[in-house]
Symmetry: D2
Subunit: 422 residues, 4 copies
């Protein structure tokens, strides 16, 4: 049996189209790039396979790739994020979509394998999120001489790609678009900062002004959460392990404390470190009754749930995303979203506008790999600063912001799919 | 037919009890006052009729009044805010609740009249929100010689009560608890400031960092919205008509502009003035396509909907609380919550904790009127500064905040229901 | 011997004129009012005696009064604030200035008495700062039937004036211009907030980012200091005795602590309460070595200097405004400006622009008392809200700020010296 | 004739010692490192020549180097920054100091050459600020085989060192200590941000709340100025040429505009770009009368003074650091500090505490080069991340800040002068 979406329900298609239209109205960068690329069609003749959570925002990216001339196969890469209505709307536009909402982990793998094998002559281009497809390609380079390029946008995936690049000579460019201002500033800091606070408010409805809000981690995400929590009037305490980071947090006006001190009076603890076991038994024992626990870091294991469970005598789902754990000493703690990503579970993840910027980076590299492939060297590489600047110009134009370099219209430094270094 | 709630469904009662328990866990002031009052029972022998939206937070207030010794009759006072499960849970505790969710306006009036007449000997005490019950009492003072006191907590209601007091000699104390720091700072500024941003985020999911956010009005509510929008990274522009207010907004670091200037580049306009016709045809004509319109002021007519409708060629409900108006010139505007209160409609109104403080004020006056009625003069009056201080002390104690006056334990300046001036 | 300034040195006069010109360039409100009043001359025929610290800003006010038609006598009212060059420049313009920099306290009194008696027919108008002249008038009302009005602008003076008004029937209007937004917001909060931080920086050159900055008091001044200290990156702790105030500080995002807790880790303690003995032996014993102590409140006794001296084994003036007290336990504390007002001593007090707004209020009332005296009732009264609004409009116009009420040109609501209520 | 300081006046020596003691009390990192190094004496046998502005803070660094066992020769490297009293105090401690306050540019060169040649066997170590000594060494490597290491701390100097390293094979380590968080965050952003605002306040005494404050440049310094100006209540507008930077500024909540727009309503323009000709004729023509111009960037030519002079009909020094330029069209502009560095000229440059952190980096590398020279490779290199972390730990310990990595006492990761990679 195949996970290919076919003959979708008409009602589902209509809902998918509405969702895509709504997302498009908040994604001016992709919309503008699509209009440019629909003329030059830099992906004409290409067969692209992509693996990114199939949300309505990703759907807009897929439409751009199709308009740029590519044949496209897609899969979402996880169990729950595929929006079936978006899949349906794309399927009737000719995209080969594999998978659906609510697969098992094994099925996710099957769907990805099917997507990777969707074209009889194999894919020429990969657009990745987490390096799953790039790993497949790396394991079968000899069978895929037609591959011309790949892109990867996550931090974790970029790390993995660099690992692969250390031992494998990719015969085509593999471009990481992670380490650019328009990714980490827009997405990680301000995007996740906002959506995390949004998730906490939707989950709890709690009053934040004057609350003791402990943020574990002060990387891009932790800093964003700390700024937004302060913006809601909370008294923010930053917990971190690096002295350099502690200096930065302190000079930015935040209180800095060890978690064992901060926990004693915390109203809320939010982890944003990317590491497991940030909040463990020793901290759970110190938290005041009624404290809220949540996580917005990469790892779902930042709050040690086994330690929490070990102290729990009963639980109650007091609100849709709030499980109240009554502990053996009479206290209770409110765990949000089961310790998973509170911004994705209780709110909507990052706004369409934020995804627009992140995807614009990956789309432009992909179009460039199609339109002027000679300009990229083979092998693993970072996106260049000129593209970061180009995306920033497009974002400012979309926001209606003028600056001293804006006389040069956004996007004209370099046409879509053209030479990066010109 | 009566609107009295009787023989409620057991499942409804259980859900109501859970909601009340959840609210109580976030309402430490009422919980503490109830524990004190359950000992002294200052309302023993009193028949109290109340008219406040019957949410779970109001339910906790009602439980306090019952625990203080009163017989209680209650009505919600509007069409949609009564939570039937809360009504059910209170009904089985002996409260006479009148009304249900989804009444007509006429039916709301019927239910209020029934509540006012619930006791054969008439009520001895009134707890009001909007002065509806106090108006009924004012119109029938000769028939209600048993009345011993009344309280009112809204700005509008307090204004109405003062109007009444100008021509009517109330033979009992009528106390307004509106003009205290613990009301307008906690509730209007920080409570509504947060819940308004919460409503906008839930309604739209829009990215706020760097957005041009226009706040019309800079009273307690407008200032709160402006602070919280700035806290989310928006570029806030304040629109106001008073020069004094403009100076305050400007010195607080906000841009100040006339609406006709601010509208031209607004990403979002939020009204918070209490006046009708703040946003009218002339401004609608200037807004950029895609701008978001919403209201968090008292008046539901701050955005002139007729003017908006006159330019609209079609509308689409793009998200649950977002109606997209396509205009005759090709632009579109997104109206949130139909121009009604975005914090109540799209989010949850003010947090339980905030209601806790507001209700604590009204509860303490009511208990005082019961326990030491001789200490209050007859006639319309404001709550005194000592009570504001007492509520603030209770709030600080609940937050675990110590200050230089906190050696004196919260609440000990004055026992519940005791002399205010001691 | 008289304290009348006469035959001033020409060089002094020139320097005074330059100082007045510089101040005038930063006092657009007084400059504008003077131009209006020079036409209508509402003080023609009046003999005005004033008592305000004779700085260059006050000099601009005096020039306005002269241009409005008044004969003017002036005295500074304290030992050190008279700027002799300003006195000289005014003297040659015909103003009768009494006093000089560096008088004894007794001499200050003599100069004030001389100013009050400067006109053989007695003054018709008083412009006061601290109620010294108004007290003289109150003690001799029968001998001064020619008096037509008086104004007072300080908090302390206004309090004293109200005390006098409780027992004395002033036969002319005595107007307090203290309690207006354009006074306390501009002057007390933002003016003193800025100048206090300015004073601390000039005195110490210390690095403020990340420092623990304790503000005692959270009234208008304390709040201003707290906001500005936070703006420089300090971690601000607010100390206060009122629970209401503590709630306001906490909801505004500040830490709130008792001084005995805050002192233990303080890098700097700044008093802003108006009360004596805020920092006493018990706190001095807790401060870490190297902590900085300063005061910007009304009272010079907020830091108990006797307690500090009792622990001091030696002192050293390490910078012009910093005295280092080495204590008997090996610690040292740095006292700024001898515990006096750090913003006046180490910096320049409030900016000319701020004095411009404060004086505009007092000037407009004085001109009104001259131009339309029938519009003011006799006795002690507050300035009305319409004037607050008028001054705010003038300030906004001077700043180039437009707002929704600004189509009506500033100042046109009411001509200088015209009916207040029209 | 030699520029060697000898037989200094005793009074000068005393004042120098007091200045050094004051600085030391605000430089806990250097003080702590000195105490450690006085035991291990990692510079024993070394002859060190240094070239850093000889302020009291630099004097504390020199004392550390002497205590570490080195013979030291020093020169200030510019015309005006040498504090003669500090030179005197160091001279009597055996340091060979060359130069004095108020030399000509030619004399500065002579003094530096003398310092470089102060030791008959030549220096073994260089501590540089601007790469002047390193350039001398690079031009005479064959004559200086005894050289064992060099350090450089400025951005400009580090750039120059990298240029040199591209063509010259240094046979010893040349370490740049510029690109570390503890340098650019503490020094450039927060240090210069504070001192720039301090300079503007001391120069002008202007009221900043509500003012339109234009910052040109949003690098480390520009961002610091923007943050601190916002912290004083100003309405900050950021001007920059890079789109990426514009996005960062905008998302951080600042207005972003082209200078030609921002200039039209600016109250103050502060340049912080490091480039010449940021403010030129076209902008000068647009500024409103009374606008303030100042510079805190590296280049003294950021404001084009020739353009300003070309429009000027007369100037007046209205305050010590403020020259008022009256223009040919009737407007006037106030230029601060002659367009030079306003934080150094009108205030005191960066606080001692900030210099403490910056010097700690350079001192630790120098001690390491002495104590464990084998651990450094020859050639140009950046300081490693471990040292950045070590300095951060020392700074946090000095501030009394605990964090999750602080159980390990500051400085113990690596002893002074020990292996960096251990």
């Amino acid at each position: 049996m195949s996970w290919l979406v076919s003959d979708p329900d008409e009602d589902l298609v209509q809902r998918g189209r509405a969702a895509l239209a709504l997302a498009r109205s908040q994604m001016p960068l992709l919309d503008g790039i699509q209009r440019e690329a629909a003329e030059s069609r830099p992906l004409a003749g290409h067969r692209l396979v992509g693996c990114v959570h199939l949300t309505k925002e990703t759907g807009v990216l897929v439409q751009l790739l199709v308009a740029s001339g590519a044949e496209v196969a897609w899969t979402g890469g996880d169990e729950v994020s595929t929006q079936d209505e978006v899949a349906a709307a794309l399927a009737v536009e000719g995209v080969r979509v594999f998978g659906r909402r609510g697969m098992t982990t094994a099925e996710v793998g099957e769907a990805a394998a099917e997507a990777f094998g969707a074209f009889s002559d194999g894919p020429t281009m990969i657009l990745d999120n987490g390096a799953h497809l790039i790993e497949m390609a790396a394991a079968s380079l000899d069978r895929h001489p037609q591959l011309r390029g790949a892109t990867e946008k996550t931090s974790e995936g970029s790390r993995r790609v660099r690992e692969l690049g250390a031992t494998i000579d990719f015969p085509f460019p593999v471009v990481s678009v992670n380490d650019v201002v328009t990714k980490w500033e827009v997405d990680n800091t301000y995007g996740t900062g906002q959506s995390t606070l949004d998730g906490i408010l939707r989950a709890t409805g709690m009053f934040l002004a004057g609350k003791r809000f402990v943020v574990c981690g002060f990387g891009h995400v932790g800093r964003g959460v700390a700024l937004r929590a302060r913006g809601m009037g909370a008294r923010v305490v930053v917990v971190c392990r690096s002295a350099k980071t502690a200096v930065r947090a302190r000079l930015a006006g935040f209180e800095v404390l060890p978690l064992e001190s901060a926990a004693r009076t915390a109203d809320i603890v939010c982890t944003a470190t990317g590491r497991p076991d940030v909040v463990t038994a020793e901290h759970l024992d110190l938290l005041p009754s009624g404290a809220v626990l949540c996580n917005t870091g990469h790892s779902t294991a930042e709050i040690n749930l086994a330690d929490l469970q070990a102290r729990t005598v009963s639980t109650e789902q007091v609100r849709p995303h709030v499980r109240r754990h009554r502990l053996d000493d009479g206290r209770y703690l409110d765990l949000l979203s089961g310790g998973g990503l509170v911004n994705l579970d209780a709110a909507e993840g990052n706004p369409s506008e934020v995804m627009d910027v992140t995807f614009a980076n990956q789309a432009l590299v992909t179009l460039g790999l199609g339109g002027r492939p000679d300009r990229y060297a083979a092998g693993v590489q970072d996106v260049d600063a000129a593209q970061d600047e180009d995306v920033a110009r497009r974002k400012l134009a979309a926001m209606g912001v003028r600056f001293d370099g804006s006389d040069q219209p956004a996007g004209t430094t370099r046409g879509v799919g053209e030479d990066k270094s010109a």
